[in-house]
Each structure stands twice: as structure tokens, then as C-alpha cells.
């Protein structure tokens, strides 16, 4: 089973990189670009066929390592 984890900064946490990307896009003439927030995508391969078990394990991985929940939130996407 494959999984994709999205790690992004929590709402309200300042994202200077996102801000710089937004400014750069505006500078390129993309005037419609407002706020930009950036983050990470982590792709994992799991030796697991049970989706519920996989999701539980992934949640644990996010809490313990993949995200720093003081500043980041995460979303888990399973692909069979």
C-alpha cells in the first residue's frame, strides 16, 4: 500500500517561505496570487494491506516524527 502525507504549517503560523514565493509570483506578473503557504509531501510505501491499520500507523508516524505538531498539521492520503 502507498501513502502520501502532506505536512503544512498550522493556520496562524507565519510562513516566510510561502510569503517569498507569493512575492516572486507577483513579480512574475501573476497579479492574482494572494497568500501562499508551502509545505512538504512525503510518499511512503507500506507493507500493509489493511487500510485502517495503515492509517493508524501513519497517524502515529506523523505525531512522532513526520510533523512537529507545535507548528505543523498533517493530512494522510492512502492509495491502494
Amino acid at each position: 500500500m502507498k501513502a502520501r502525507v502532506f505536512v503544512t504549517l498550522k493556520n496562524g503560523v507565519l510562513d516566510p517561505q510561502g510569503k517569498a514565493i507569493g512575492h516572486a509570483l507577483n513579480g512574475l506578473g501573476f497579479a492574482s496570487v494572494g497568500e501562499v503557504r508551502q509545505g512538504k509531501v512525503i510518499d511512503l510505501e507500506l507493507k500493509e494491506t489493511d487500510a485502517t491499520k495503515a492509517k493508524t500507523a501513519l497517524k502515529d508516524m506523523c505525531e512522532k516524527l513526520l510533523a512537529n505538531t507545535v507548528i505543523e498539521k498533517y493530512e494522510i492520503e492512502l492509495k491502494s
Binding site: 507565519l14 516566510p16 516524527l65 513526520l66 512537529n68 507545535v70 507548528i71
Partner: protein, 220 residues
């Protein structure tokens, strides 16, 4: 005072810390490899600056998974002193030994320069030899030193006298100009600037000496 310096892969201030400790205490610091399970019998553990594990995933995140961290947490739980400098501060926040997190500098640039800070609190082994409100200059060298914590945590830190150093001219966007903080039990401190680089006038300053003198006085 007996001390240990933890060596992670890509620590790069471990020898600076060991040299400063030896110069100040007259005793060699134990260099402890991150894969060791146990600490020698020491009063102070220093987590040095550097780029442990190449800052992969997040600064300090991988170092926090090292075997030695269990022994460091146990040392702290027993009341043993722990000092995290720069990357060491990042490891301490990742481990939960200190609250908050260190994020990318607000200006997005790596900042490498001397910074002036005020000593906010002297009720600790780390700062007892300074005067409250005294200004000191330590160098900083980091890309991720922007201290973040939610308002509740920041208010608590301030209310409990746990903000130890505050930047006079904030180099990285840190909340409330915070440069260094203490844990609740007052035995674990983390700061981004480098006191170990200013213990000798010949190397650019001596404002860091009092930090080590305080530790020696409190822990010997």
C-alpha cells in the same frame, strides 16, 4: 563540574563547546557519541550547535530519535543540567524538553553575526553570574532560529521567568525577541546564540564566560 558534549553526525560546534568547557572547568569534557545508550557520570550535558543529520526533515528532528536522547531525558528528569546551543536548542524543542519550535528565519537568510541581548532572568544555574538587565554579545549562526510558541505558552514563559535572553535587535523574527528559554524545572536551557564562542577575548569576546562560571558555581 563534570560535563559531556553530545556528538551527532554533522555537529560542528562540539569541539568549540568542549574547548570552552575545558578552559573554564580545567577538566576535559566527555565526548558522547549519539549512538551511545548511556551518559558518563556528569553534572552538565551540552547539546552543541551544528547541522545534525543535515537538518533533514526539520532541524533537530532526526537527532531527537538518537539512542542517547533517552539518557539525556533521564538526566534532565533527575534534575541534571542540560544546555542546548543553536542546533542543540532545536533538538531540545523537538524532544519536548523545551516548549515551542524554531522556524525558518523571518528574513529567510542564514544569519551569522554578533548579536546583543539582554539577560532577562538570573534565577538559574545558567544565568546566576549575570546581572538582571545586563547586555551581552554572543555570535549567532543559524538559518532556523525564529522562536515560535503559541501566546499561551509565551505568556507562561514570561510569567514564570523562563525567558532568559532577549535580542535587542531581533535577527530572525523570534516571538517577543526571545533568544533563550528555560524549562519548568529550571535545569534545561536552550538558546540560539553561542556562549561557547565568547569565552576568550583573543577569540572575539568573553561575555559567555559568566554562563559557564554560573554552572560551575551551581554544579560543582
Amino acid at each position: 563540574m563534570k560535563s559531556a558534549v553530545i556528538v551527532f553526525p554533522a555537529s560542528n560546534c562540539d569541539r568549540d563547546a568542549a574547548t570552552a568547557l575545558e578552559q573554564m572547568t580545567g577538566k576535559k569534557a566527555h565526548m558522547v557519541w549519539h549512538q551511545d545508550n548511556a551518559l558518563p557520570d556528569v553534572d552538565l550535558v551540552v547539546l552543541p550547535g551544528g547541522f545534525s543529520y543535515g537538518d533533514y526533515l526539520r532541524c533537530g528532528a532526526m537527532a531527537n530519535q538518537s539512542k542517547i536522547m533517552g539518557a539525556i531525558k533521564a538526566h534532565a528528569a533527575k534534575g541534571g543540567a542540560v544546555l542546548g546551543i543553536c542546533n542543540g536548542f532545536q533538538v531540545l524543542t523537538e524532544s519536548g524538553l523545551l516548549p515551542g519550535a524554531l522556524m525558518r528565519n523571518a528574513g529567510l537568510k542564514f544569519v551569522c553575526k554578533p548579536v546583543t541581548m539582554s539577560v532577562e532572568e538570573t534565577q538559574s544555574a545558567f544565568t546566576r553570574k549575570y546581572d538582571k538587565g545586563q547586555t551581552v554579545t554572543f555570535p549567532v549562526a543559524h538559518g532556523e532560529g525564529n522562536y515560535y510558541a503559541d501566546d499561551e505558552t509565551l505568556n507562561r514563559l514570561e510569567g514564570e521567568g523562563r525567558v532568559m535572553f532577549r535580542y535587542q535587535d531581533n535577527p530572525n523574527g523570534s516571538a517577543r525577541n526571545i533568544a533563550g528559554i528555560l524549562n519548568e524545572k529550571r535545569n534545561v536551557m536552550g538558546l540560539m546564540p553561542h556562549p561557547e564562542r565568547v569565552v576568550d577575548e583573543a577569540l572575539g569576546g568573553s561575555d559567555g564566560r559568566a554562563l559557564f562560571q554560573g554552572l560551575i558555581e551551581a554544579l560543582s
